[in-house]
């Protein structure tokens, strides 16, 4: 079908979507490249070495490392499962897997460019704090139920 045969509304929607695609593609490609680089740079066995067994420090470390990590969340479950068998606390692991999916330091430039810098910073800060609070609440609820 020729583009000129489309209704004005369809033409307008196509044009708007095309413009959004043109604007977004460099950012999406950039974030994909950055994520694959971070995955290669951070060795997977590092996570087991960062936890100290400290009740308060470990959830914080879990949230920090989860925020830096990137890639498929499935990896966070596998790593979390391994860490549990190594004796790392449930609070720390929950903070880790939660911040892996809710906080995105690697995606922050892309989020800032598309949704606004203030929004991206604010959302990531609140998500980071929530990861720690939810981790404590989840572990506590899990124990008492």
């Amino acid at each position: 079908m020729s583009f000129s045969l489309l209704s004005p509304k369809t033409k307008e929607a196509t044009q708007k979507t095309w413009n959004a695609m043109k604007r977004s593609m460099p950012i999406l490609l950039g974030v994909l490249l950055l994520i694959t680089l971070i995955i290669e740079i951070i060795p997977k066995n590092i996570y087991g070495k960062v936890f100290t067994g400290h009740v308060l420090l470990d959830p914080l470390l879990g949230a920090i490392f989860g925020s830096i990590a990137a890639g498929n969340p499935l990896n966070s479950y596998v790593i979390g499962g391994e860490l549990i068998s190594q004796g790392v606390s449930l609070v720390a692991i929950t903070a880790f897997i939660l911040s892996w999916v809710t906080v995105g330091l690697v995606q922050l430039p892309a989020e800032s460019l598309m949704l606004g810098r203030k929004f991206a910073i604010s959302r990531n800060i609140f998500s980071f704090l929530s990861a720690i609070i939810i981790a404590i609440l989840t572990a506590y609820t899990f124990t008492i139920l």
Partner: protein, 170 residues
């Protein structure tokens, strides 16, 4: 490199150029790392192409069927509880990596979607329906239910806090 030229190109392209420069830096320091990272990029790109297509099809349909008035009504300042419910449901149902949804959300934001609902949507993206069986396998059903419920509750709290923090900054 000419700095004036850099100031003329848009932020997205600038970001891509910076990442490419980072790759070039890696190539100089460790060529093997560059090769493995590029292989990983190829694999990831193949994984996300279907999601990119879905996002742009949804964007096209929203441009065709949803005008600013409708988006403002359901996801705007006066959308109330139903706005949060829509964001939670679509956040949980949406597939693929979080950053793939930024273009659509940016489009909706332009049409009146409020910041708190964007934050709520993005938070619920963390509940991965397709990965729930794996979470149950690694951490138990009880843990998965408790965590998912807290995540839904906190997605709303987060959304409200993000919305309020941006209103105060204005």
């Amino acid at each position: 490199m000419n700095i004036k030229f850099l100031s003329k190109i848009d932020g997205g392209l600038k970001f891509l150029v910076l990442v490419v420069l980072l790759y070039l830096g890696c190539a100089i320091l460790n060529f093997e790392l560059l090769v493995t990272a590029l292989n990983g990029f190829g694999k990831l790109l193949k994984e996300v192409i279907p999601v990119i297509l879905i996002v742009f099809i949804v964007m096209f349909l929203s441009n065709l069927l949803l005008d600013t008035e409708k988006i403002s009504k359901y996801l705007g300042q006066d959308s109330g509880v139903s706005g949060f419910l829509i964001s939670i449901i679509f956040g949980i149902l949406s597939a693929g990596p979080i950053y793939m949804w930024y273009p659509l959300l940016a489009d909706f934001k332009e049409k009146g979607m409020k910041n708190s609902l964007i934050a709520t949507f993005l938070y619920n993206r963390a509940i991965k329906l397709q990965l729930l069986p794996l979470m149950i396998y690694y951490f138990s059903l009880k843990f998965t239910i408790i965590l998912s419920l807290y995540m839904i509750i906190f997605s709303v709290i987060n959304g409200i806090l993000v919305g309020k923090s941006l209103t105060h900054k204005k």
